[in-house]
Subunit: 233 residues, 2 copies
DNA sequence: TCGCAATCCTTACGAATTGTTACATGGGGC
DNA sequence: GCCCCATGTAACAATTCGTAAGGATTGCGA
């Protein structure tokens, strides 16, 4: 499955254009239809990964179409509708839709929801699993750290918890108390020493100079701060 | 999967009660938590099918929690939030959430969206009997494993249970407690040693190098993780 | 019912990882 | 400069995990 294919079915030209542009920009292939008959004919030739269907179609009952799609097609189905009542949403979802977006909508949210559907459908590798920072990359699915020189350093679960905490809020102070809370340690006890050791081990794996750490900086009496630009993917 | 288990994490008693009643009435099992630490502790023992998470938690950054769940748990994640901005929804979904519901909400819609998530989850590997991964294939109808070189290796029922668990949630951390629960073992007992043995046998059948397993990786103190892309048929 | 075989659990011991202790280092107030 | 306390880290202890070997259980056929 190279680039996912998104099918759009809507009778309003404006919305077709808006969605088409947003999805193309997001890197999807698109197939755009204004009438249900064309749409169904196309489905027999190629199977899209996600179908965006407007319920307010002039030439066919939208809900019936959704139901048929849900039964026969393997695609994820996202309803787009002007009908905002809870009952409408419930019946749409019960009939087999995977999501229900209300007009007017923001294209960015549509893209995000499509991505969410594709994630689940493709394989179970959910969310962003790797973080990149300063020529390093941390792969949380494999528990491996890739150094700038290409070397791979495995890290343990304990180290990973600390690392993830840092990478989730870089350039922000993380107090020791916050860490203990997040790492499930009972406060007060001598667990704080264990945390120091975790950080120490993490630092050696990150090739930090103990005298002058560049990534994990200690703020005396307050906590730690992770410098470095982080991007998740 | 008998009756699905829904975990709820919210700090407002009112909402906890409302959701709890609605989900119980809809026929789900529920596990309700008011604080993130309790919630995380429970996750180590048992794996819910869907997690409803409120972002406005007092004791933890909700988005970080969602991200962690997306990385480590196989459950579908539905965010419930009072923050209604499009940007909030997009970041929530990008971090790995499967859906985003805005307060105030109607319990009926929550139930409908949960059902939509469960539907998709079940489709993946529901009636399928064969799983393919990394040039291997596991035939659960015949209790046979086909190696990349064509050799056929039979596996027992006990081994199959473990293998199925892995193949149903690949690239996800599976804690030992969750395994025991899934495999019907009594907790705390010396049954955990039996699990090790099962996995050990499975590893030898999968031709794993004991020093450097490529498929079934041990996360010391946390559980196991199955690497490798899986597709069911 | 008995015996046989296959499977599975339990035990035991070695190996790997993590928490703990102890001591060294360095920062900050006086 | 001196003292106190927070932090770094090496060395040790405790815990967790891998797996070989032996015993218990189950299922099957006679």
């Amino acid at each position: 499955m190279s680039t996912p294919m998104i099918a759009i079915l809507d009778d309003e030209p404006q919305i077709r254009r808006m969605l088409g542009e947003a999805l193309a920009e997001a890197g999807f292939r698109t197939a755009i239809f204004s009438r249900a008959t064309e749409f169904e004919a196309a489905l027999k030739r190629t199977a899209p990964d996600v179908c965006l269907v407007d319920l307010g179609l002039p030439d066919r009952d939208g809900l019936a179409l959704v139901h048929r799609l849900a039964l026969e097609s393997g695609a994820a189905i996202i309803i787009i509708s002007g009908r905002a009542q809870v009952q409408d949403r419930v019946t749409g979802l019960e009939l087999g839709a995977d999501d229900y977006i209300i007009k007017p909508f923001d294209p960015a949210e549509v893209v995000a929801r499509i991505r969410a559907r594709l994630r689940k459908g493709r394989d179970a590798g959910g969310g962003a699993t790797t973080a990149r920072f300063e020529n390093w990359s941390a792969h949380f699915d494999r528990y491996v750290l890739a150094a700038p020189d290409g070397r791979e350093v495995p890290f343990s679960h304990a180290e990973g918890e600390v690392l993830r905490l840092f990478l989730q809020s870089p350039k922000r102070l993380i107090s020791r108390a916050q860490m203990q809370e997040s790492l499930g340690g009972a406060a007060g006890d001598s667990f704080d020493r264990a945390m120091d050791v975790r950080i120490s081990r993490l630092r050696t794996k990150l090739d930090e100079d103990p005298r002058n750490p560049r990534l994990i900086k200690t703020i005396y009496g307050a906590g730690y701060i992770f410098l470095g630009d982080v991007s998740w993917s």
